[in-house]
Symmetry: C2
Subunit: 412 residues, 2 copies
């Protein structure tokens, strides 16, 4: 069955590859309309998922992730509107040079082909991912979690209806209805048809994909992020940034899990930071030097420094300076987003240069690592690998290139 | 042991990441000097490999691939000279924008980190790959074939000596001395340390890597390439291009394996093409319509159209026009290099647009798909996948990017 879905996706991708930007935007517009048209059906399907989740005693946070309502469907549609307004990268010729032998050699952006997405809980990912793929002429195979299966079916069928109404193949968007583990594993190994697989979810999912896939993968999401308060930091700024990076939305990948503080400023900086974090009942797990200043901090284990809590918990360490901070971050971090708060030019440059991460900040919150905030428009996820795309992935990350060569009889 | 090599490579890569272009070029220059200095030792090691190969009855073609001599060592050194002259992509800021909130967001080229190469027979790959990695501040782990192990040890030890003389860590270049299958498989799964694995060799090696790796892979090399002679083709040009693409060097990936001919020109074009190919004793395997024109062509099987012969064999098929040609190529081809010979503007555009391959040519030989010919300077291989790099990979393909963000206290 998956083999057949792969084949259908590949053949749909050939059709998508020939569309003009205008045709793709019309289809996107039809998808937005169809989601509004089928809204009741979608909400009814989502209500089933919610009921099942409650029966299974799933946490309120998870239920909130699963939930659709009028506002959330409207916000999917307005995201589609924003996507329509973005430039289409497909077909852009990014270089063209004439060689001494007269060959004219260009490099042109082309679709990736077939994109597979394995994602957890949030059903809006199916619409986000499918519409970004359509905009970039890629066919998509979606494999969502079992908790959201009814919602995902309703959303994908609405999108497929809209594709059909636009004269496009329904199979440009396909959802795997069978949510057992086997279908996910098969999808990871469908390299005859799938050009790239993007897992969106927790560390366990991403690890499973990396270990099992034979299709090219873009790793996303795991964020064990740090703020380092340097000796020369403006303490008010540090308090504001640490608070924002930790508490504005602790469940997301660009929130911080760790705070490093220069030893010469620890006694001055830690108390006001702690006072502010207490307002959100943030639990502090600190090294010995931290606990000498923050009396009610729990002791931090080595494991804590490796952990993405995604919760109101912060691991804190006092360090001897920017060099130890950099070393610590490159050892324990996941290469996502890292920030230094400093007034030192030299240390800011050193940190930007030597931290090995997708996004490195001076005097700003790590929470900005996001396609929208970076001005990319839509976002397909945040890559934490170095190949192909690193950091927030916009439309260009969903394309490949090909060389096009104009000759007049050249041989070698 | 591999775990330790990975660790050493990662730590060497941090040192390489801090080097200036000048320091890297000096080290490259020292490598070239050291190869000349240790030439006798290298040639003696190579002689051992050659002797063993002859004892094992290995073919002359393979022995030629394995062989080093003064000229080949000099040519390695002159390639290093060319590499020194190339621009260093590392550190280049490729975009910088100011966001409405005042954040200045740039994207900067950075090294990949640790690059692993698994390659077969030709020992010069170890020097090519290691020096390209050094130029782009990447540490490299080499795993060559057992036939060339003595040569590879001699070459890598010379390079490590040169690194040490340059004040750099020897482990910036490491060779796996144990050439059993297990070390290759372990290397493919060393994702804690290896940022990208590039297999260079035959289809079997590449398949094994794709199936087993959990590190990001760049597939290279397999080329099942075609020339299509369209109805309006200049027949002299077609003869010249087919001859060049097939016979100038049949053992390489950008040589053609297939010829497609428009049915309305088959009777005029096939005889002179065949006459020319006969000079190189090329065996023709054709469809029925081909065999009606070329009487001594053997019948082609479906399997033949899928095969990369790397030999003086050409599969030929008469097609109804450009649409069938495109469909055939997209089905049977490996997405490497494809050419159309035509005087039709419309068909040239269609072919360039719809062929799904790394390099698509109008009126030129597929043999130009090469880093040097494309003006990239050095080449790390030819990618046939769509992720990260497609086609010949120059220095930029050996880099990643990171976002650098300059703020003054921004929070979200």
């Amino acid at each position: 069955m998956l083999e057949q879905m792969g084949k259908n996706a590949k053949s749909a991708s050939r059709v998508l590859g020939r569309l003009s930007t205008k045709e793709k935007n019309e289809a996107l517009n039809n998808i937005a309309k169809e989601l509004m048209l089928q809204r009741d059906k979608i909400l009814a399907a989502n209500a089933e998922d919610i009921k099942k989740a409650k029966d299974n005693g799933i946490s309120d946070v998870m239920i909130d992730r699963l939930m659709l309502n009028d506002k959330r469907i409207e916000s999917m549609c307005s995201a589609i509107g924003e996507l329509i307004a973005l430039d289409d990268p497909v077909g852009e010729v990014i270089s063209m040079t004439k060689r001494p032998n007269g060959l004219l050699i260009g490099q042109k952006r082309v679709p990736l082909g077939v994109v597979a997405i394995i994602f957890e809980s949030r059903p809006n990912v199916s619409v986000d991912a499918a519409t970004i793929c359509l905009k970039t002429s890629n066919a998509v195979i979606l494999r969502g979690g079992k908790e959201a299966i009814n919602s995902n079916i309703a959303l994908s069928e609405a999108m497929r209806d809209a594709l059909e109404k636009s004269g496009l193949p329904r199979d440009a968007v396909q959802l795997i209805h069978d949510t057992n583990r086997e279908t996910a594993t098969k999808l990871m190994r469908l390299n005859k048809y799938v050009d790239v697989l993007i897992p969106r979810g927790g560390a366990g999912l991403i690890r499973a994909v990396v270990d099992n896939a034979n299709v090219p993968v873009i790793e996303t999401g795991v964020g064990n992020c740090h703020v380092f308060i340097d000796e020369s930091a403006d303490i008010d700024m540090a308090v504001k940034i640490v608070d924002n990076a930790k508490t504005q939305r602790p469940s997301v990948c660009n929130a911080i899990e760790n705070l490093l503080v220069h030893e010469s400023i620890a006694e001055k900086a830690l108390p006001p930071v702690y006072e502010r974090l207490k307002e959100h009942s943030v639990e502090i797990r600190g090294c010995e030097k931290t606990r000498a200043v923050i009396k009610d901090a729990k002791p931090a284990t080595d494991e804590d420094y490796y952990t993405e809590f995604l919760d109101y918990i912060l691991a804190v360490k006092v360090v001897s300076g920017v060099d130890e901070a950099i070393e610590h971050i490159n050892k324990y971090g996941s290469g996502h987003s890292e920030a230094i708060i400093t007034e030192s030019y030299k240390n800011s440059q050193k940190f930007l240069e030597l931290i090995d991460a997708a996004a490195v900040y001076v005097n700003a919150s790590t929470r900005f690592t996001d396609g929208g905030e970076f001005g990319l428009g839509a976002e397909m996820g945040i890559s934490t690998q170095k190949l192909h795309a690193r950091g927030p992935m916009g439309l260009c990350a969903m394309t490949s290139t090909k060389f096009i060569i104009y000759g007049d009889g050249q041989t070698r």
